[in-house]
Assembly symmetry: C2
Homo-oligomer: 283 residues x 2
């Protein structure tokens, strides 16, 4: 099968170029691509090195590489466009259209989307991460009222990664609370959660998958038995129903999808959504 190389080239983090480039390539997934991210291409030397890498890939593949670029500097772009490649400018097309529609010229500013812009917003994301880390697994209930969301679920349903993703990406202060077997037996919510019911969100998963995951952790334990997993999942789901807690199965969806679905379901976005950035811990 023909194998081609795809380059994602940027003068900054490359997040935007990789993101759209990879998404576009998923529409051709019957083809094979080598992926290569070239970040911080912001000097003529680095542009020249990038150009040589593209030329080398063109020779090796016997086909011109695909270059997904978000470069803004015209000299740098010109250097790369001389390479034997398919140059896809992820910015220019839309910038021209936007300038036309808005009736103004753009002011090219490099790396602004994931760089230093909105300090206050960025600080709230860093703050959310710290909050989430210190409210993992119900280990701190003192500031539970400051949570935007309190994630419930039996052990190993993905509460922690989901909470981290919510805080890192959406600036959501996500606490995370385990449901104990006593709670499940009695079909009750931990007392501390009762006054905070509107903030609860439940995760669940298929018992078979849960068993597999737990089996890796504690092989052949009661904890990892299918019977136990089935019991816990059934009870947890019944508990969510009993208390009207919105819930999501993590069996077949990725952490990106879980987080976006939660943000969508509970309407936590707008001002807080997505990375615009500033220094760590700024204020």
């Amino acid at each position: 099968m023909m194998r081609r190389t795809a380059f994602f080239i940027s003068d900054s983090t490359g997040i935007t170029a990789e993101n759209l480039g990879r998404t576009l390539l998923t529409q051709f997934e019957f083809l094979e691509f080598n992926h290569s991210a070239l970040r911080f291409i912001n000097t003529s030397d680095r542009a020249e090195s990038a150009r040589r890498l593209i030329e080398r890939a063109a020779e090796q593949d016997g086909h011109p590489p695909l270059v997904f670029s978000t470069l803004l500097d015209s000299a740098t772009r010109a250097t790369l466009q001389t390479a034997h490649c398919v140059y896809l400018d992820l910015f220019e097309t839309f910038i021209n259209r936007l300038e036309h529609e808005l009736g103004v010229c753009s002011q090219p500013v490099r790396g602004h989307s994931h760089g230093l812009t909105d300090h206050e917003h960025y600080f709230s994301r860093m703050d959310a991460i710290n909050y989430t880390l210190s409210h993992d697994d119900g280990c701190a209930v003192a500031h539970l009222d400051e949570a935007d969301i309190i994630m419930l679920g039996v052990s190993r349903t993905g509460k922690t990664p989901t909470c981290l993703y919510l805080s890192l990406h959406y600036g959501v202060r996500a606490a995370n609370f385990p449901i104990t077997e006593d709670d499940l037996d009695e079909m009750r919510l931990p007392k501390v959660l009762l006054p905070r019911r509107t903030k609860l969100f439940g995760l669940t998963t298929e018992p078979q998958r849960l068993q597999k995951i737990r089996q890796e952790r504690l092989p052949n334990s009661r904890y990892a038995s299918l019977k136990q997993c089935e019991y816990e999942v059934r009870q947890a789901e019944a508990l969510y129903r009993k208390f009207g807690i919105p819930c999501l199965s993590t069996t077949l969806i990725s952490i990106e999808e879980i987080a976006a679905t939660i943000v969508d379901m509970v309407g936590m976005e707008c001002s807080r959504s997505l990375p615009t950035a500033a220094p760590l811990y700024s204020n």
Copy 2:
């Protein structure tokens, strides 16, 4: 000032649409935009609701909203394109060009970039998160050899968020090790790190900023004094130089930039870079 609304519309997580759309708008940051993400627009009902939201914004603003769309379904797209808006199709332009260049037709698959695709790759990211969480602040040295990178820095230089970002996004197993005052006084590395010197990476920051951050934590303490911050930063930087440890100042750059720079500097990417996803904890 004219205020316009920008919609980021997707049939899945909306990550790609938001990412490129927001990046494009940063080039017009002298204008004001309301941002609105409409995710999981994957039924005719949801498309119709989205259309109505766009129409309402058009009326309120007195200008057609900008619509950044990654919708693939032609019926859904058609519904939205009837709205009074500037419809920017982030896919179509490039898909057509790619089809032409590759000489094949694409196979539209919804939400694949941040959905369920490469299970093994996704599992390694989830695994990296768990690794990073259990190797935060030097609290576990048992599996330090499994680290891809060991982050050093004095207290509050941003080690933890950086490690979490590296693991969540790049699947990098990032451990995190505090430098104690004794280490700084003696200008030595903790013993456990000596055989792992090639994996070390240092973070640093300006003493004034460090003081501000520490002041919030422990007001008027020795820990938060400018003198102490200056001493620790100077010593840590000298330590990095002494042992030839690559290092980065986090003062003026965002967590996205820090992580991308580290990945770039130590060449940790390729197969592991960036989100393609599958269920949490799959295998």
